[in-house]
């Protein structure tokens, strides 16, 4: 087991900067997710931790010691990829045993470890089955078990659940998290799926264009996004954004948006009247029924436990998440409120969050 530290890590491919000055700490026993759209540098970062890519500059430390001269196979890492390659001609048992046999572990040790891992991953019943005959979820568990059995100091996972159908994916995600918690396994997990990152991670690292945009707990990045990028990337349905101007009414700070004026709440950081800001509000934060904002229902999407309503506010569209029992019709006029404790405010020019 290990702690990992990245210090001012940079990776260039020709004139492209794939990873741009990334520093972070991965504590022992924690699962950290690198989250971002494709091309954000998350996989390159993972590959540098693995030793499959050399950093252009900066340092990677395992337990405080630099690993730049340590080849991949001696870093004590285990990797699981999106396209996990099992030895399909071998049985589940032999796949699990492979890493230990290569190391020359005694037969009894190998047998004991394989059976223990099979027990944990519920693979005991298929130990004798050839890997080619296993279903996808079982293959994924074998791939995971084969990696975990070697007791890696760090487990690196690159979108390992991508090819698995929805439903099964959520099940495997839960299994993976349970296993990681039980084994206290340090792990770095790369994904573009914000739901996956939030549900799995102790800590989420959101990346864009090679840079770290925010590091925080799943709750932290959801509730206090540091900028518009993070605010829009994390959460589903996506946060709504409306342009506003700081104003005042009866001496209290207010926000004037398209066709409405609402109280801004206690915000010492709001700045002078006339400042342009972007108001962000999550779909579940929009209140329907009463309020200073008038809107027209444009679209109603049933979503099982909720309904997603698309609303027109002036020329802007926003979405609200409401109870499925509420009956609305398209074209209906509704009043909305944006409660001040649900507001996220961003500087219109920089996109940075105002510190509330």
């Amino acid at each position: 087991m290990a702690t990992i530290a990245l210090r001012r890590l940079v990776k260039r491919f020709g004139s492209t900067v794939a990873v741009d000055d990334v520093s972070l700490d991965i504590p022992h026993g924690k699962l950290v997710c690198l989250l971002g759209p494709s091309g954000c540098g998350k996989t390159t970062t993972l590959r540098m931790i693995a030793g499959l890519e050399q950093p252009t500059s900066g340092e990677i430390l395992f337990d405080g010691a630099p690993v730049s001269n340590v080849p991949p196979q001696r870093r004590g890492i285990g990797m699981v990829f999106q396209n996990y390659a099992l030895f399909t001609h071998m049985t589940t048992y032999d796949n699990l045993a492979f890493g230990l046999r290569i190391r020359g572990e005694p037969r009894e040790t190998v047998d004991g470890e394989v059976r223990r891992m099979a027990e944990v991953l519920e693979l005991t019943a298929v130990l004798d089955h050839p890997a080619a005959r296993l279903d996808l979820s079982t293959m994924q568990r074998v791939a995971l078990g084969r990696t975990l059995i070697t007791r890696p100091r760090v487990l690196l996972l690159d979108e390992p659940l991508n090819n698995i159908r929805p439903g099964l994916r959520e099940m495997l995600r839960a299994e993976l998290r349970r296993l990681q918690l039980d084994l206290n396994q340090t792990a770095v997990y790369v994904t573009h799926d914000q739901e996956e990152a939030l549900s799995l991670a102790d800590q989420v690292i959101i990346m864009a264009r090679g840079k770290v945009e925010q590091i925080g707990s799943p709750d932290g990045v959801y509730r206090r996004p540091r900028n518009r990028f993070v605010a829009a990337f994390v959460g589903s349905p996506t946060m709504n954004f409306l342009p506003c101007e700081v104003t005042s009414r009866d001496g209290e700070p207010h926000l004037a948006g398209p066709g409405f004026v609402i109280p801004a709440g206690r915000r010492p950081d709001l700045g002078p009247r006339g400042r342009l800001i972007v108001l962000g509000i999550r779909p579940e934060g929009v209140r329907l029924g009463e309020g200073p904002v008038s809107a027209v229902v444009m679209l109603i999407q049933p979503a099982g436990a909720d309904q997603i309503i698309e609303l027109a506010v002036g020329d802007h569209r926003l979405r609200a998440l409401i109870r499925p029992s509420l009956r609305l019709t398209i074209g209906q006029q509704v009043a909305l409120d944006f409660p001040s404790d649900e507001l996220h405010l961003f500087d219109a020019a920089t996109g940075e969050a105002l510190d509330g």
Partner: protein
């Protein structure tokens, strides 16, 4: 605009019965979603309607007329596949115009129609660009524009969003819904994703092994899934199905018992994660907490049964903590051993521990 009817349609490939006696109707202007896991006959059903396959048995009617003798080209159907293929050497305009040019339509009319669908799908900026410069979502929009530009009687969509990122998919679902409301195009949409089916379908048909498990509005299918498959393919997380023995007005699960009048024998209690309340009722152990921003998915063990529960973001429990769960007064669904819904009941709170399975 057209109505579609399938009457006892069957199709077999060698030893595999892909479609087995399937009957359903699609009304004019309606969008019906075929929802089912992979391998349940969704694509085969679309291909049969399109005329790309011949049924072994049964009848397909379009506007009341059998289409058995018609080639695909005569059926006036457009189809968009999961792996769509745009012509890589043609700009957006020419890709969309292609089906009209094949019909030798005058150029002014082509221009008018292409501009119209490009507006509908929000893609006027793609008309003069080549497909390799399009994002995944843009490619899908162009493919759909090409399919609807000639105003086919029927549009068939086979998992058109399954290769897109979650964020792009979210946007596309909203756009397709808008499009459908404006065009009222008769459409059959195959998917394994319940969110797409719920958001887009006027009605949902749950397909299992080539037959219809249920057909109903999204609200009906979600509230009263007719089978355990319909129950578990809808919802995120899906419905909890608790194996029980029903006897004397009780449902006895592995480690707890609740009231469930009217059912007898072996089966399952079906309870949606958002219908379980945490913090009251019978003791349970928190097994896993998965935050999702606006809610948390909490897995708990009650007796020896593992349940998924939707909790608010304020839920502070962690793996290993004790809590409690209650089901009342929500509706529970009772499924027989055959997986079919046999009753829906309001439950009382779980009142007795230590019940065991039969």
């Amino acid at each position: 605009m057209a109505e579609i009817a399938l009457r006892d349609v069957a199709k077999r490939y060698g030893r595999i019965e892909a479609v087995r006696g399937l009957s359903f109707d699609v009304r004019s202007g309606e969008l019906v979603c075929l929802l089912g896991p992979p391998g349940m006959g969704k694509t085969t059903t679309l291909r049969l309607i399109a005329g790309l396959e011949r049924p072994d048995r049964g009848e397909i009617l379009i506007d009341g007329q059998s289409v058995a003798g018609q080639e695909p080209g005569q059926r006036d159907i457009a189809m968009v596949f999961e792996d769509l293929a745009l012509y890589p050497h043609m700009e957006g305009f020419d890709n969309i115009a292609h089906p009209l040019r094949l019909r030798r339509m005058p150029i002014e009319e082509i221009r008018r129609k292409v501009d119209h669908v490009a507006d509908l799908l929000g893609i006027p900026h793609l008309l003069e660009r080549l497909p390799h410069t399009f994002s995944g979502g843009e490619q899908q929009r162009v493919a759909i524009a090409r399919a609807i530009v000639r105003e086919p009687k029927i549009l068939l969509l086979d998992q058109p969003l399954s290769n897109l990122d979650a964020k792009v998919r979210e946007v596309m679902i909203g756009e397709l819904r808008h499009l459908q409301q404006r065009t009222r195009q008769t459409t059959i949409y195959a998917t394994h994703d319940y969110e797409e089916a719920m958001a887009l379908g006027d009605r949902i048909l749950v397909l299992r092994e080539g037959t219809a498990d249920q057909i109903g509005t999204p609200e009906e299918v979600y509230a009263r899934p007719a089978t355990t498959l319909a129950a578990t393919i809808t919802g995120s997380p899906p419905m909890n199905l608790i194996p029980c023995r029903f006897s004397g007005g009780l449902a006895m699960a592995d480690g707890f018992t609740i009231s469930a009048p009217g059912a007898e024998g072996e089966g399952f209690l079906g309870i949606r994660p958002e219908e379980v309340r945490l913090g009251e009722g019978i003791p349970a152990v928190v097994d896993l907490v998965q935050p999702l921003g606006r809610k948390k998915i909490v897995e708990v063990t009650v007796g020896r049964v593992r349940l998924k529960v939707t909790a608010g973001p304020e839920f502070a429990g962690q793996r290993g903590d004790t809590t409690a769960v209650a089901f009342g007064p929500s509706i529970v669904r009772i499924y027989g051993a055959d997986g079919r819904l046999s009753a829906t009941r309001a439950t009382g709170p779980p009142f007795q521990r230590g019940g065991t399975m039969g």
